[in-house]
């Protein structure tokens, strides 16, 4: 698989260098360096690779060993060594090797830091996603245990009804700066230009809520007419552009539009989901994409991603973003956004040859089934679909899940995706069968952040495209978009937005920013388990010395946070100022209590916050438990559900706490609880949990100050993760074309 590495092209010197995060291809995309010959047998057609290499016949190791084992290798004198005595030359070469190996060690350490940071970001991100996926599994279990729920349906709500307030409902006036532009239907290019001009600014970039409603409503109306899979063709345009995850990064979207032009009949675009969450401009990205769709309906194809889902939005920031920008109208807007989500098509098929979906597929994915379902049922993919008095089609629900959440893996087979908690990991064999079964050439997907914005896998049959640059932190990764010619041969354009901000910094400074952002994310995640960590540390420290062995520290960290990270390598940072034999865990805990980490935590949303914020989920839970639709649930029914809830979200509430809650809910003591009491109980328990936390923090603040090394680290993190808002300048990007031009 890797016999033809790019490093072997240097005259077969056999020198290997480790693939770095910033390589033109990550180490798993050895395929991108493969030879034209092998490319011709794939359905990608003619060679679309950046370099044409002839496959070297020698192996990596042998040529180098030969070099050294050959007698009289001193004959390899070149200019620097000519005219020297043999021993002198020998000494020089030995010295050179010595320096080279030291330099390579230095580089390896840099590489390690990059990788470590990347692992932290990814692990924390997916672990959080796991929590959401838990909800899906919880519902599945709940439904399994309450079979009456399947038959009874969901309070008569059908997919044909639209959810949300009436058209005639009033909008409230918002306070603060509002853009003075006027928009009207039909949306045209001139409106797009106006919108981009407004959104670019760092202030006064909010549209009047009536225009927001207008765009959302019109878009949902049009999307509803579309089939589950867009049929895209390059017959007219002779080419097509594909973008991956944007996650609220408006600056990246503007870079793409700037470099690649606005959509038109000759310049069609497919946007492959995940428009919102995590980034701060999700609403603008969504509105701009929907407007582009309305203005150029045959040139813009929007696929749904796993973040086009209110349950995800509750956890990952989009709901808070909308609440913050439109405090008096957010409920109405979010409800209209839900309408857009449920009608977004689930994927695209290009020229009948290429499938474009957000996540991937599994060994049971059936496109015919996907084409035939009533997608409007799935307001959220993580909650059971609305039912029309029909039985819940679990297989169908799973199909949608698989295409939204799955990831490719290098090894063969297809297994549940333990990292995400939902969907599958699909191997090259799964890909081959899938393509054959559906007569496709290859698949384009997104869903995973890549250092270079894109990656090839499975013999170039699975291409990942990710368009949000600086996704984890400034300078963490490039974004990319893909262009396909009429033969569907791809090339990529990589970029970093706001490039001047990174350029001004030295390598060390840039590394510092990414590293501090990673530490901050990790520390916030650790804070969720702070008490558990403290308890476990103390268990291994009977003498209360404040120190435990390295192994024990690593064990506790992994066991409690459930994150598979190289803890040994992170020890220096998470227990600063500690020596090499043991770890001062008090410092770890102190770090979690510093202002910078606590502020970051307050900024984010916890699982239970999200669950409560998502009233619809709580309502659904209630409705499922209330199998006979009496409008009330008995303590017995509730107890059954609690077992499941506790099993799926351990550490959040204990069974006794929940039962107590239920008894408290039953205000009139008749052994039953209605929906309002149910919701109120969650709100109250959430409130009391927050009060408990505040009390605890008040107690702790009176304790001793943390050590100097902890304070210094906290300061460094604070300084390095400061974000300054600028107007967006799409020309300020560092773009590079990769791959063959059409």
């Amino acid at each position: 698989m890797l016999r033809s590495c790019v490093c072997l092209q240097n005259g077969g010197s056999g020198k290997r260098r480790s693939s770095s995060v910033e390589d033109a291809s990550s180490c798993r995309s050895s395929e991108i360096e493969r030879v034209g010959a092998s490319m011709q047998t794939t359905t990608l057609g003619s060679n679309g690779q950046p370099q044409t290499l002839t496959p070297p016949t020698s192996t990596r190791a042998s040529s180098l060993l030969q070099l050294f084992q050959r007698k009289g290798w001193c004959k390899h004198f070149r200019k620097p060594l000519r005219g020297m005595s043999a021993t002198r030359a020998e000494k020089t070469i030995r010295a050179a090797i010595f320096i080279q190996k030291w330099y390579r060690r230095h580089q390896a350490r840099q590489e390690m830091r990059k990788r470590c940071n990347w692992q932290i970001f990814q692990n924390v991100e997916y672990a959080c996603e796991q929590d959401q996926a838990e909800l899906y599994k919880f519902f599945n279990d709940l439904i399994k245990h309450m079979p009456q729920a399947i038959e009874a349906g969901n309070k008569g709500q059908t997919s044909k009804q639209s959810i949300g307030p009436e058209k005639s409902a009033t909008l409230y006036e918002e306070t603060g700066e509002m853009a003075r532009i006027q928009l009207e239907l039909p949306i045209q290019k001139k409106h797009i230009d106006l919108m981009i001009d407004v959104f670019r600014k760092k202030r006064g970039n909010r549209l009047h809520p009536k225009y927001v409603c207008m765009i959302l409503r019109e878009a949902a109306k049009c999307l509803k007419q579309m089939p589950n899979l867009w049929m895209v063709s390059t017959a007219v345009s002779q080419q097509v552009t594909i973008c991956g995850d944007l996650h609220g990064k408006l600056d990246d979207l503007l870079v793409v539009l700037y470099k690649n032009g606005l959509p038109s009949a000759s310049n069609p675009y497919v946007f492959n989901g995940d428009f919102v969450d995590r980034g701060k401009r999700g609403l603008e990205v969504l509105l701009l994409l929907l407007s582009l769709y309305l203005a150029f309906p045959n040139a813009v194809f929007l696929n749904r991603g796993n973040h086009e889902d209110s349950v995800m939005n509750a956890r990952y920031g989009f709901i808070r973003e909308v609440e913050g920008k439109y405090p008096r109208n957010h409920k109405r807007l979010l409800s209209l956004i839900d309408e857009v989500y449920r009608w977004l098509p689930l994927g695209s098929i290009l020229n009948n040859r290429v499938l474009i979906v957000h996540g991937g597929f599994s060994d049971t994915t059936n496109l015919d089934l996907i084409k035939s379902i009533d997608r409007g049922k799935y307001v959220s993919i993580l909650r059971p679909p609305l039912m029309d008095g029909e039985a819940l089609e679990k297989a169908e629900w799973q199909q949608i899940f698989d295409i939204m959440w799955s990831d490719p893996q290098a090894s063969q087979g297809c297994k549940p995706n333990a990292l995400r908690g939902a969907g599958v990991w699909f191997g090259p064999d799964t890909t081959e069968l899938f393509l054959k079964r559906h007569r496709l050439s290859y698949v384009i997907r997104s869903h995973e952040c890549k250092p270079n914005g894109h990656e090839f896998m499975h013999d170039n049959k699975v291409i990942t495209i990710f368009s949000a640059s600086n996704y984890y932190a400034m300078g963490s990764n490039k974004g990319a978009y893909m262009r396909l010619n009429n033969q569907l041969v791809p090339h990529f354009v990589q970029y970093i937005s706001a490039a001047s901000q990174t350029k001004e910094l030295s390598f060390k400074q840039r590394m510092g920013i990414v590293e501090c952002a990673a530490l901050k994310e990790l520390a916030v995640r650790m804070r969720e388990h702070r008490d558990e960590l403290e308890a476990d540390f103390k268990k291994y420290d009977p003498d209360d010395s404040g120190c435990i062995t390295i192994s024990k520290w690593c064990f506790v960290m992994e066991n409690v946070t459930k994150l598979g990270l190289p803890w040994r390598l992170l020890r220096d940072k998470l227990a600063p100022g500690t020596d090499s034999q043991c770890v001062n865990y008090v410092r770890t805990l102190d770090l979690l209590d510093t202002d910078v980490i606590m502020e970051a935590e307050a900024d984010g949303t916890s699982v239970m916050d999200a669950l409560y914020a998502n009233k619809a989920s709580l309502e659904t839970i209630f409705n499922i438990i209330d199998a006979d639709h009496s409008g009330e649930i008995t303590l017995d029914e509730f107890e059954k559900a609690i077992d499941l809830l506790v099993a799926h979200m351990p550490g959040v509430y204990s069974k006794d706490e929940m039962l107590e809650k239920c008894r408290m809910m039953d205000l009139n003591g008749d052994g039953k609880v209605d929906l309002n009491e149910f919701l109120e109980a969650f709100r109250l328990s959430d409130l009391s949990r927050k009060e408990q936390q505040e009390e605890y923090l008040r107690k702790r603040s009176t304790c001793q100050r943390p050590s100097e090394s902890v304070t210094r680290l906290a300061d460094t993190i604070s300084r390095n993760t400061l974000v300054v808002e600028h107007d967006i300048d799409p020309t300020d990007c560092e773009a590079k074309v990769v791959g063959q031009k059409s």
Binding site: R3, R16, R94, F98, I99, W102, R105, T549, G564
Partner: protein, 155 residues
């Protein structure tokens, strides 16, 4: 010595290995073997890295190394203290060997040529990454004593 020395060592090796194991399959790309060894504190030559690869590469699928083979082999190497870092004096000595005229620095042309053509030559990318660290921007030369400090510092 720690009682847990073997286990601790193996955990260290496993941790460093897993940084490059992207899908929790206990597999790494052969091209990462050098980096993993260097993370563990070793300073191997490319030849030594190749030896490790030859000894640990999976026979069935070339290009990857599995932890089950890597762990025992590298544990052994580390316990025998192979590929250990030398003291700073040795590196200084190496630089001084190259500095025939004892100027206290090396010229960019000479050093560049040497690094790219002799010993275990650098690729162009490695050279490009090295320059910002090695060169004194004013004189355009390599003041090797300072460069040495950079090399030895654990970032």
């Amino acid at each position: 010595m720690d009682f847990d020395f073997n286990n601790d060592l193996e955990k260290r090796i496993s941790d460093a290995f897993c940084v490059f194991d992207h899908h929790s399959e206990k597999l790494i790309d052969v091209r990462e073997v050098g980096t993993v060894l260097r993370l563990l504190g070793c300073v191997p030559t490319e030849e030594e890295v190749n030896e490790v690869i030859s000894a640990t590469e999976t026979e069935e699928t070339s290009g990857v190394v599995h932890l089950t083979k890597f762990l025992p082999h590298v544990s052994q190497l580390l316990m025998e203290r192979k590929m250990e870092p030398a003291p700073p004096e040795k590196i200084l000595e190496a630089f001084k060997t190259l500095d025939f005229e004892n100027k206290g620095y090396l010229t960019k042309e000479y050093f560049g040529k040497l690094m790219m053509e002799e010993g275990e030559p650098f690729t162009q990318e490695e050279m490009d990454e090295m320059w910002p660290v090695a060169i004194d921007p004013i004189s355009g030369h390599i003041p090797y004593e300072l460069y040495l400090n950079q090399l030895m510092v654990y970032l």
